[in-house]
């Protein structure tokens, strides 16, 4: 099984050294991603999902820094690589897609040009071959008349098409890992459905591994095989998606599920998680979720829970919820 691991992140810590203090955006994240697997990364806003993604690619902006941990891509350590070596990994081995395609695509360049730049960055191929590859990928993603589209500018495309172009850019160099950071959040449901469909097909057909970052549990549940729930910079629960969603062991995951409107009856108040997101600057001692947790006990206030596992289903909680009946 280990041979099949595409990406192994262990105890990753990425901190931002701001004037106000050190923001521990990612603070001890560990997970593994197998080839051909989709890992959903969920959690509320600001819990460190995106920074985890950026850390893997070495794209953390000033004043942020990876202060500890390891990221192994197919057994090769990425933390501490030189800039040029990292650049060779980016796009070639691990690619990334961002939330808002309008912000990520350069409005001043034709999409063909942008794809060409991404291809040329990894060298070698003649221009005609690069063009053919671009056309191929666009076609693969269900864009009609891909050859003609190369000359189009982002503003000439609909939102859904733009996002497909962004995804195409990520796929160009046949990476084996894709980090998709909320790629459908900016889109409305009907387009989101299209993209989800194409991405699942893609994973099935090419065997690429994917980290799908989202805060929409429903989306994650329909694309991912495994899920990791982040809270305040670390993963509090992880495991096969059905197991976690059917029987969450961590109260935070439970709270997330309960607050979905689909869970309540129309017109009735929804269940909500009390309190507010903790500041990553002054993280509460013990379990970071304890101020909002109905099940918190004394150890929660003092001791940080270690990951416990129940088969493939892991969680960090002193008082986990009971296992759901299968």
């Amino acid at each position: 099984m280990t041979a099949d691991v595409a990406l192994a992140v262990a105890d990753l810590r990425t901190h931002f050294f701001t004037r106000a203090g050190v923001v521990k955006a990612v603070d001890g994240v560990s997970f593994t991603l197998r080839g051909g697997e989709v890992l959903g990364l969920v959690g509320e806003s600001g819990s460190g999902k995106s920074i985890t993604g950026f850390s893997i690619l070495g794209l953390v902006d000033d004043p942020g820094r990876i202060v500890g941990g390891s990221i192994r891509y197919r057994g090769r350590e990425l933390v501490g690589l030189r800039a040029a070596e990292l650049r060779a990994v980016r796009g070639r081995e691990i690619a990334m897609v961002f939330q808002d395609p309008m912000m990520t695509l350069n409005p001043m360049l034709a999409i063909g040009r942008q794809m060409d730049l991404a291809l040329a960055a990894h060298g070698g191929r003649p221009a005609a071959a690069r063009r053919a590859r671009s056309v191929e990928i666009l076609g693969r993603l269900g864009i009609p008349e891909p050859a003609r589209r190369l000359a189009a500018y982002p503003h000439e495309l609909s939102g859904g098409m733009r996002q497909r172009v962004a995804i195409a850019c990520a796929l160009l160099n046949r990476p084996s890992v894709i980090i998709a950071d909320e790629p459908t959040t900016a889109l409305d449901v009907s387009i989101q459905a299209q993209i989800l469909r194409e991405m699942t097909d893609l994973v099935r057909d090419t065997g690429v591994a994917m980290i799908w970052i989202s805060h929409d549990l429903a989306v994650v549940s329909s694309v991912a095989q495994r899920v990791a729930v982040m809270y305040a910079g670390r993963i509090v629960e992880d495991g096969p998606v059905t197991a976690v969603l059917r029987g969450p062991r961590h109260p935070y995951t439970r709270g997330l599920l309960d607050s979905l409107p689909a869970q309540g009856r129309p017109g009735e108040p929804l269940a909500q998680i009390p309190g507010t997101t903790p500041s990553l600057l002054t993280r509460p001692a013990g379990c970071p979720f304890h101020p909002r947790c109905g099940r918190a006990t004394e150890p929660c206030r003092t001791a940080e829970p270690e990951r416990r596992a129940d088969g493939e289903h892991g969680f960090r909680c002193h008082n986990p919820l009971p296992e759901a009946a299968p």
């Binding site: 650049r87 796009g91 070639r92 961002f98 360049l109 000439e156």
Partner: protein, 325 residues
């Protein structure tokens, strides 16, 4: 097309009208040009005769209407001082000024944009700070002073370059250009540099501000995530994105470039429009002033038009909307 051109022409006409009224009123308020031009020994009779000959005895509005009428017939009038058609006087000097200002702008862009982009790319580096500090000096030190220092250093002390004048020229398409001869280029270097310094500082600042902002954008992050080298990111993405504000400001700054050319041309004895206009101001040569300002207004409008076209060339959003299928 016709409508747009018409609109632009109308705008040009309005600007020119305003300019000419301003100059007429201004010169009128300063005094009678003849008082500057005429010798002290001229009798009252001669003085009156000359004033009448130049039409300066008429009420201002009649002088102005006369000017307008002739202008509409395509006659800009003749210089009080030289009795030459003003248009000839200006057109023979225009190439020199254009050559100077365009070279200066080119230098400013060619040097300012890369420097500014570097300063924006590594804002906290010592080199970037040095560039920014130097650019401050560029905007703060008066042009005439820098000009003299340049002359002192490069012409007088080192003797590398001529201290002034235009040097050999080559006629191309009926106008003389010094850009095309070695001697001409040697003469062009210092004044162009002098004039460029101010713009250079501006370009550096603009390019830095734009780069600083864009380096933080998702576009750049996405490009980096695709494995693009930093050079490719700067060259292909950032440069494209900062081009539009740069072009806008350049267009706007054109008028001031020409204005500072006045100073530079004076220091370097550059036979361009700037020297002509300063001299015509000091001799109250009204027809030259009016024609010059009208020309500048025209130039400004043309530049604005070109900026708009450059927008269209640079910004695909302004280009043709391809139909969806």
């Amino acid at each position: 097309m016709v409508e747009i051109l018409f609109q632009r022409l109308l705008q040009a006409a309005a600007v020119m009208l305003a300019m000419s009224v301003l100059v007429f009123a201004g010169v009128y308020a300063i005094g009678n040009p003849i008082d500057v031009l005429i010798g002290p020994d001229a009798t009252q009779a001669v003085r009156a005769e000359v004033i009448a000959r130049y039409g300066l005895d008429l009420p201002l509005w009649r002088q102005y209407l006369g000017f307008l009428r002739r202008f509409l017939e395509g006659d800009f009038g003749r210089s009080f001082v030289y009795d030459l058609p003003v248009l000839d006087l200006i057109l023979t000097r225009l190439p020199a000024t254009l050559e100077l200002t365009l070279t200066a702008v080119a230098v400013a862009v060619a040097a300012g944009v890369p420097l500014g982009m570097y300063a924006g790319y590594r804002p906290r580096s010592a080199a970037a700070r040095a560039v920014m500090a130097a650019s401050v000096v560029g905007v703060s030190v008066p042009t005439f002073w820098i000009g003299l220092i340049l002359i002192l250093v490069f012409a007088v002390w080192l003797g590398w370059l001529p201290a002034g004048g235009r040097g050999a020229t080559v006629a191309v398409l009926g106008t003389e250009w010094s850009l095309l001869t070695l001697d001409g280029l040697a003469h062009l270097v210092l004044p162009a540099l002098n004039l460029a310094l101010f713009k250079l500082a501006l370009m550096i600042r603009l390019a830095r501000a734009g780069t600083l902002e864009i380096m933080l954008s998702d576009t750049v992050k996405f490009a980096r995530a695709a494995g693009l080298s930093e050079w490719a990111v700067l060259r292909h993405h950032v440069l494209r994105l900062i081009a539009i504000p740069l072009v806008t400001v350049l267009g706007l700054e054109f008028a001031s470039t020409v204005a500072f050319a006045v100073v530079t041309e004076t220091i370097f004895s550059w036979p361009g429009l700037g020297k002509l206009i300063i001299d015509s101001i000091t001799s109250l040569d009204r027809p030259v002033m009016v024609a010059y300002l009208i020309l500048i207004a025209l130039l400004f409008i043309v530049i604005n038009l070109m900026v708009d076209l450059a927008y269209a060339a640079l910004d695909p959003r302004l280009r043709r909307r391809r139909s969806a299928s």
